[in-house]
């Protein structure tokens, strides 16, 4: 049974950025504008190397609030030098693979694997609208030794104070909502 989908963008930046399908007991997320393969990681892929990405989807009661439900998956991506297509493998407990995808399709496939059980939403969705926050982190496969730079730098202090992980090379987030679940097959905004 399809419950609903609703995109009721409050922030202009999030308009049409994220949509949610409730299929059976799972919320499925689509975010065509959520691009995480660019810059140096994309160069690495095109050089034949693999890149590991962690994607996180969070359900929030309101923008900026702490998440009530979180799901995260880690994917290994590579780029076929001859076919010029991307291959993705989920490298966590639920191993799934797909190949022969163009860039946007590879990114979309990763986001679609971020399913969230509807039952974990509780009152959110049916009675109370919720927000979705998507985050990604490009993970360095090789845990390089920490820089032995004794000098303090403002960036270093910011990293320490924000407890930034050494292995993370970049991160990005997208927040959208509010969404509300409705019974029936309608996919219109609230």
């Amino acid at each position: 049974m399809v419950l609903a989908v609703l995109t009721w963008p409050v922030a202009r930046a999030s308009a049409q950025a994220v949509s949610v399908d409730a299929v059976g007991d799972l919320l499925k997320i689509r975010a065509p504008s959520f691009s995480f393969l660019k810059g140096e990681p994309l160069d690495r892929l095109r050089d034949g190397r693999s890149v590991r990405v962690e994607l996180v989807a969070m359900i929030l009661a309101a923008p900026g609030k702490s998440p009530s439900t979180t799901t995260r998956r880690i994917f290994a991506l590579s780029y076929d030098l001859w076919e010029e297509r991307f291959a993705v493998t989920a490298v966590d407990a639920r191993t799934q693979s797909v190949s022969h995808l163009v860039l946007a399709a590879a990114e979309a496939w990763c986001v679609e694997q971020l399913t969230i059980p509807v039952r974990t939403l509780g009152a959110l969705g049916r009675d109370v609208p919720f927000w979705i926050r998507l985050e990604y982190r490009i993970l360095d496969g090789d845990a390089s030794a920490p820089q032995e730079d004794s000098a303090y730098t403002l960036q270093g202090l910011i990293d320490v104070l924000s407890r930034r992980r050494k292995t993370e090379s970049s991160s990005h987030a997208l927040e959208a909502g509010p969404f509300k679940l409705r019974k029936g097959g309608s996919h219109s905004p609230q």
């Binding site: 050089d47 034949g48 190397r49 693999s50 590991r52 290994a76 590579s78 780029y79 076929d80 030098l81 001859w82 991307f86 291959a87 493998t89 490298v91 693979s97 190949s99 496969g141 090789d142 845990a143 004794s150 000098a151 303090y152 730098t153 403002l154 960036q155």
Partner: protein, 518 residues
């Protein structure tokens, strides 16, 4: 005989190891001791890993086990620390007693299983060619060439490629290596390219040390100096801000400035700096009172504006010289008097060296000697020559640190107040107040200090004297203790050779090297 003993000891160790390895557990949780708790440990060894690659503190704690009673809990803690420091290794601890009654403790380290390589769609392609760019053929050993050649004709294995890249990194530490793959000449064939890039050599010239601080002195009160470096590579711009800073000179100054520095101008031997600053002065009443009694000392001033262009030349990575001029305009306290110029030629030589000894202790030595000569030829109203020699040494082993420093200086002629020497602040002659012992500073100075630190706890002894030529010289001594936690410090000093023994405390934040990169 000694050789025989060594061979005997070596064989005994080998026999023990064979026994231990045969029963070596696969996890750190399996660490049952066969020796009773409290038995004195004769010897400790780390096997399967070079102990010198562990941190000095951990190495020291492992070695310190010899001669102490065996405690399984302590051994487990050390094993956990090794694993925390080297997460790719698993550690097992074994203690055993040999036939001679000697108790041995072994930390057996083994590399964890290689993590699974991420799947790569190109693994199905065959490598038709592998090459290394950025290195000449003559730099590659035959072994390396053979290893590279062995990759050709096989399917791409990211693990093999990683290991070869790691080997290159080990063999050529002066280079950084990256890897890329390209299409080969035929379908489903690829080329593997390892790219070597020579690392930038370490600079020979150093930037001016940063000394940002916020300091409270129980006699001299709050003051602050902030130098925030902005720069990348050999170029740096440093805005300077001072707020009621009485910690460096006999004057209390507030204001701002800007310093440009380049440590490499075409060659790493040549550098330059340019500094401009404008500071307003506040004078403490002891200084103003003392000036009334010493008309031969140039008058106090309202503001001090200084421009200092310098050129620096590195003779070697450890030795450099600098030369330039310092042009200062001193605006008078009283408008009816004219401003004075204090223009000086500046020259200095700087030496620094750091090294490790056999016990892994680190040593660092710095020394400098500088001359500033105010001259009529430079349109200076004040003619003087100021000499200052300084040396600083630090010994660092594990949690122990010993710092020793000394400096001595002299001035001839009539220097402006900012050139006169002062002791008795948060870093020199701690426990004394400079406005008590020399409110207008002196033209002679000698000082030395020794400090011992165990982690954050410090004990120190300062000895020094500041005086004017042809006046009585009094040597002052102080001692005290301090706590240091990162940039924060709290120091209590006691003047010793005085009838008025009292506690003088300083506290604040001192960050050497605050900067942002762009």
């Amino acid at each position: 005989m000694g050789l025989l003993l060594a061979v005997d000891a070596g064989m005994r160790t080998l026999a023990l190891l064979i026994t231990l390895v045969a029963v070596a557990p696969q996890a750190v949780t399996d660490q049952k001791s066969v020796v009773p708790e409290g038995t004195i440990i004769t010897s400790v060894q780390v096997n399967g890993f070079d102990i010198d690659r562990l941190s000095p503190g951990l190495r020291q704690d492992i070695r310190a086990l010899s001669g102490t009673p065996l405690s399984q809990q302590r051994l487990d803690e050390l094993a956990a620390r090794i694993e925390a420091e080297r997460p790719r290794y698993i550690v097992a601890v074994r203690s055993t007693r040999d036939a001679g009654g000697q108790v041995w403790v072994f930390f057996l380290m083994g590399r964890r299983d290689e993590p699974e390589r991420d799947p790569n769609i190109n693994d199905r392609y065959v490598i038709e060619d592998a090459e290394i760019t950025g290195l000449s053929e003559t730099e590659l050993t035959q072994e390396l060439r053979d290893a590279l050649k062995s990759l050709v004709g096989t399917r791409l294995d990211a693990g093999d490629a990683d290991r070869f890249q790691e080997r290159l990194q080990r063999d050529f530490p002066q280079h950084d290596f990256s890897r890329r793959m390209q299409r080969g000449s035929e379908k489903e064939r690829i080329r593997l390219v390892f790219e070597a890039r020579k690392k930038a050599p370490p600079p020979w010239l150093r930037f001016e040390p940063l000394k940002s601080n916020v300091v409270y002195h129980s006699d001299q009160k709050w003051g602050s100096f902030i130098d925030l470096a902005v720069g990348k590579g050999p170029v740096r711009v440093t805005p300077l801000f001072a707020i009621a800073n009485a910690d460096d000179l006999i004057e209390e100054f507030s204001g701002f400035g800007l310093r440009f520095e380049a440590t490499k101008l075409g060659t790493r031997r040549l550098g330059a700096s340019f500094e401009w600053s404008r500071f307003d002065q506040d004078w403490r009443s002891p200084t103003l009172d003392a000036l009334l009694l010493h008309p031969e000392i140039p008058a106090a001033y309202e503001t001090r504006s200084t421009i200092t262009p310098m050129v620096k030349f590195a003779i070697s990575p450890n030795l450099s010289v600098a030369g330039g001029v310092s042009i200062s305009e001193l605006e008078p306290l009283f408008p009816e008097t004219e401003s004075q110029m204090a223009n000086a030629a500046v020259a200095s030589v700087f030496y620094n060296q750091s090294w490790k000894d056999a016990s892994e202790a680190t040593h660092r030595l710095e020394g400098s000697f500088g001359v500033r000569a105010g001259s009529r030829e430079l349109e200076s109203d004040l003619a003087y020559t100021r000499y200052l020699g300084q040396a600083w040494y630090r010994y660092h082993f594990g949690r122990h640190q010993v710092q020793a420093s000394g400096m001595a200086g002299g001035i001839t002629g009539t220097p402006p107040l900012f050139e006169r020497f002062a002791l008795g602040d948060s870093t020199t002659l701690r426990g004394w107040d400079k406005f008590d012992i020399s409110p207008v500073g002196g033209n002679r100075m000698a000082y030395s200090s020794i400090e011992y630190r165990y982690t954050g706890l410090a004990l120190f002894l300062d000895v020094g004297s500041v005086w004017d030529a042809n006046t009585e010289r009094k040597v002052r001594v102080s001692t005290g203790f301090g706590f240091h936690a990162g940039p924060a410090f709290f120091v209590v000093g006691f003047p010793l050779n005085t009838d008025n023994v009292r506690a003088v405390f300083t506290m604040g934040l001192r960050v050497s090297g605050v900067g942002i990169k762009w």
